[in-house]
């Protein structure tokens, strides 16, 4: 059973929204709106999420883990280093003094947070990745792309829907 990917380009969000609505209501074999539909747009567009339905974003968990482990790592690393630094006796100050360690912990808290958040972003957004073959430079300019994966047999139906909504261009390619 072979699969087929189809990309359709639209002029604006309203048209794209209409397409998605139609796809949602139509039953097509081997095509699920939630899994097989990808919208490509040149700008970030909160409305896209609305008509696509809520999809979870998990980056905040990375942030939490990163910031906490960054902070903890910093404190233990620094306190440990101070404890193990061969004879680091500073006049009138304890060997493990809190105020400077807190400053550094604070910095590492942020550093850990930022690094791991970005790591999370790459993982969650699936980057870096190879560009899918069905990509149009128009998307980075001003057009909205709708990419669907469906079974070979459903291709025609999908194309029909796309053309119906005045797709500017339709590309297709056989999947694996």
């Amino acid at each position: 059973m072979s699969k087929r990917s189809i990309l359709a380009l639209y002029n604006n969000f309203d048209e794209a929204e209409a397409v998605v609505k139609e796809l949602r209501t139509t039953t097509i074999k081997g095509f699920d709106v939630n899994d097989d539909l990808i919208i490509k747009s040149p700008i970030e567009h909160p409305e896209v999420e609305e008509f696509l339905g809520n999809k979870p974003v998990n980056i905040q968990w990375f942030t939490l883990v990163g910031a906490l482990s960054g902070g903890l790592l910093a404190f233990f690393l620094i306190a440990g280093a101070q404890g193990n630094f061969y004879a680091q006796s500073k006049g009138g100050k304890p060997i493990v003094p809190f105020p400077p360690d807190f400053v550094l912990t604070y910095e590492m808290f942020i550093l850990g947070g930022v690094y791991i958040t970005v790591l999370g972003f790459l993982i969650c957004a699936g980057l870096p990745a190879k560009r899918s073959p069905l990509y149009s430079a128009k998307v980075s300019e001003d057009q909205i792309g709708i990419l669907v994966d469906a079974e070979e047999s459903a291709a025609a139906t999908l194309k029909g829907i796309f053309t119906k909504h005045k797709a500017l261009e339709i590309q297709e390619e056989a999947g694996k």
Binding site: F62, G66, S69, L73, G80, A81, Y86
Partner: protein, 212 residues
């Protein structure tokens, strides 16, 4: 979701790995004997022959060249070690003192060379084997006093701590890392104050001790 769980485990693991590595960087006190580079010396002095352990097999036939050593105390030749910062290379006179009456080896190339230096009254240009950077001042006297005289450790063990198993070498080679961390690891350990008491103390740990 599994992906995120895996990631958390990975991150926590990373944290502990880095943390415990970083806070636990003490190099092990006893290192693998990592033989330092072979240093070309003007005379290939056989430490094993002089300081090495006696081989009972040698007693059987004195005419054959001996295989074992003579168990000479390190400080017999390196005489300054117990009273000065530096151990000192023995003066030429010391070598001659014994060798002029040891007829059996007098014609060997090494001893011939030794006598050449002696006759020219020229010091032998030995190469440094345990050469610390110039700003490090290791005090032989303190260590010998502490470990040999106060703690009654065998000389070869005390010296071998830093100089390695010299008695098995011909020309000495550096076996120990001699890095600061390596020195420090020993200084942080508690050592018996003397052979008779169970009191312990660790080495001095201020920088001035070695850096002057």
């Amino acid at each position: 979701m599994h992906r995120f769980l895996r990631l958390s485990i990975l991150l926590v693991g990373m944290f502990f790995a880095v943390g415990s590595y970083a806070t636990d960087t003490a190099p092990p006190i006893t290192t693998e004997d990592d033989l330092g580079p072979q240093v070309e010396q003007p005379i290939e002095f056989p430490h094993n022959r002089h300081a090495g352990l006696h081989d009972p097999a040698d007693d059987a036939d004195p005419s054959k060249p001996a295989k074992g050593g003579m168990e000479i105390n390190c400080m017999y030749c390196h005489t300054y070690a117990r009273r000065s910062m530096v151990a000192g290379i023995p003066p030429l006179r010391k070598c001659i003192g014994c060798h002029q009456s040891i007829e059996s080896v007098k014609e060997t190339p090494r001893i011939k060379k030794l006598f050449e230096y002696w006759e020219a009254k020229k010091a032998i240009p030995w190469k440094k084997v345990h050469d610390l950077p110039d700003f490090v001042r290791f005090n032989h006297e303190r260590h010998v006093q502490r470990f040999v005289f106060q703690q009654n450790r065998p000389v070869q063990e005390a010296c071998g701590y830093c100089h390695g198993d010299i008695k098995t070498m011909t020309v000495a080679r550096r076996q120990k890392p001699l890095t600061m961390g390596w020195c420090a690891s020993c200084h942080q350990k508690d050592h018996l104050v003397s052979a008779s008491s169970s009191e312990t103390s660790h080495g001095p740990n201020d920088c001035f001790t070695c850096h002057k």
